[in-house]
């Protein structure tokens, strides 16, 4: 296997004086979909925030395409080719749907088939219908689509989704899983944090489980499917 797209090793981080992550190791290769699972408060979102430079690191190495990005400012980390779909969607409420898509759009990394407004609207047709609405005037599901579209418009090499289906109706969830499967087929690497184990089993190539700030289990979908003990012990509420 070639060097991974994203390589995190020994990541330690937290908030204020309290430490949340205690040496997280996590790799994502080009074109690979990796899921990060775990119960509430185990450090999934903290991992994303530390990776994106949104909170300071206490220790650890982060490399993207071999280049160190640990402790770089968030905009540099994003520009290296990481598209973030954050927890809680965080749509810009005072911008229209279309403005949300174009405000931070970029095409820095010279990919062949770049994401454009037209391609996003074809990929996520609900957004085309809502293009003139303000970010806070659309439904939660549409906001989630918009958050995905907004991240894709930065033409990332790695898409990170933090709880992208949380609190959404089953139909919308299914639509999102379908879209992610399409992105996977097109070769986009994805790091996905979610609680829907069944959907992750179908989508992801590998799974990692976080427990109290450490990776306690990892393996393929097959391994996870045939390991009810791991599912019971680390994922059931």
């Amino acid at each position: 296997m070639s060097a991974p797209l994203l390589a995190i090793s020994g990541l330690a981080a937290g908030y204020g004086g309290s430490q949340v992550l205690f040496g997280v190791d996590l790799d994502v290769s080009a074109g690979e979909v990796v899921s990060l699972m775990g119960r509430n408060g185990m450090g999934k979102t903290t991992t994303v925030r530390a990776l994106m430079g949104l909170i300071p690191l206490q220790a650890g190495q982060i490399r993207f395409e071999g280049r160190p990005i640990a402790s770089a400012p968030p905009f540099r980390i994003a520009r290296s080719g990481i598209g973030l779909v954050p927890e809680g969607r965080q749509i810009f409420p005072t911008l229209t749907v279309e403005e949300n898509l174009i405000a931070t759009a970029a095409h820095r990394n010279g990919g062949a088939q770049a994401w454009t407004l037209a391609r996003i609207y074809a990929f996520l047709p609900r957004l085309a219908e809502r293009r003139r609405h303000m970010g806070n005037q659309i439904s939660g599901g549409e906001q989630q689509m918009l958050a995905i579209g907004r991240a894709l418009m930065t033409n990332p090499k790695l898409l990170i989704l933090d709880e992208a289906t949380e609190g959404l109706a089953p139909l919308i969830r299914q639509e999102i899983w379908d879209r992610l499967a399409t992105l996977k087929r097109e070769g986009l690497a994805i790091l996905v944090i979610d609680r829907t184990v069944d959907a992750l089993l179908r989508l992801s190539d590998r799974h990692l489980i976080l427990e109290k700030g450490r990776i306690v289990w990892q393996g393929s979908s097959q391994a996870l499917a045939s390991d009810p003990v791991a599912r019971d012990r680390y994922l059931s509420v």
Binding site: T94, L95, N100, I102, A103
Partner: protein, 318 residues
């Protein structure tokens, strides 16, 4: 602050119209100062008490350039980039080291900048008030109605302020940088996490904000005495404006600036007369001026009671 006509004995219509225009003129000046303040506060969560200094410096720079060039228009045009450069120098030298600090430290440090620069201005230009003439083409007055004339120059201030407001509106609503400014006012970390250098964006905002405040100062240089500390009072009003308008909102700043300008001016002119309708004249004379200087704070209290985040809140509408 702006000179005001003496309150008349009675509330005549011409006087009311004059004061309404005076209020509008104060309003557009407040908007020019408040626009930068609200964006800097909204985007970077940075309280800059020294923003009023930019207004004072704009006036001093205009006077200085007038002495060098002899032309009002050249002096205003030169004062704009000079104000921006000065603002950017302050940002690089002092303010950017304060963004991560808490609000109390920002207030203390920028208050120190006010004291320092008010003294600095005294050392460079002297403590005595300076002035510059109104240009010939904008001097004189035009008739509004029977027996009522209004100075051309004050109309020019209102027109220039409104023109800047329109230009700013177009900039904020129709350009990519404007979108990022709006996005940054609601969620700066997210803008950064999507690959935008928020610090550079903020420098642009800061520079423009300094320039707009400097423009306001340059515009009032011919009608006010240019003196140290002239920015302090307008700064307080500008803070009232951005709190009423909703922090981070240009539209809110515009509406609130006109409201504050008009209500403050009309309150100071007519409060005593209005009180005379319900109180004894002597009592009205005592209470009137005191109440007049409180009207905008009462307005702020009422707005905050009804809409705690201001009229057009930028944050927390997700």
């Amino acid at each position: 602050m702006c000179e005001r006509a003496d309150p008349g004995d009675t509330m005549s219509t011409p006087l009311f119209v004059v004061q309404l225009f005076n209020g509008l003129q104060l309003g557009v000046l407040l908007f020019l100062v408040a626009a930068g303040l609200t964006l800097v506060f909204g985007v970077m969560d940075f309280i800059n008490l020294a923003h009023g200094v930019q207004y004072m410096l704009g006036a001093y720079l205009a006077v200085t350039f007038y002495r060098l060039t002899g032309s009002f228009f050249a002096s205003v045009l030169l004062a704009l980039p000079a104000s921006m450069v000065f603002g950017l120098a302050l940002e690089v030298a002092i303010f950017r080291h304060l963004y991560e600090r808490d609000h109390l430290e920002q207030v203390l440090a920028t208050f120190g900048v006010i004291l320092f620069l008010n003294q600095g201005v005294k050392i460079v230009w002297g403590a005595a008030p300076l002035n510059m003439p109104i240009p010939d083409i904008l001097s004189g007055s035009i008739p509004l109605m029977e027996g009522l004339r209004y100075p051309v120059y004050r109309f020019a201030i209102i027109a220039a302020g409104l023109a800047v407001a329109v230009a700013l509106y177009v900039f904020v609503t129709a350009t990519r940088v404007g979108m990022l400014v709006r996005a940054g006012a609601t969620n700066a970390p997210m803008v950064s996490a999507l690959g935008v250098d928020i610090k550079r964006l903020f420098m642009i905002v800061f520079g423009f904000g300094a320039m707009l405040a400097g423009f306001a100062g340059a515009m009032v240089a011919p009608i006010l005495s240019v003196e140290p500390g002239m920015g302090d009072q307008i700064l307080i009003l500008a803070f009232v404006v951005i709190v009423i308008g909703g922090i981070g909102s240009i539209r809110g700043a515009f509406i609130a600036a006109l409201l504050v300008g008009v209500i403050d001016t009309l309150g100071r002119s007519f409060m005593t007369d209005m009180l005379r309708l319900v109180l004894a004249p002597s009592t009205a004379r005592v209470i009137g001026p005191a109440l007049a200087s409180m009207t905008i704070y009462l307005l702020m209290a009422i707005v905050l009671a009804v809409r705690p985040a201001g009229l057009f809140p930028a944050k927390g509408r997700a």
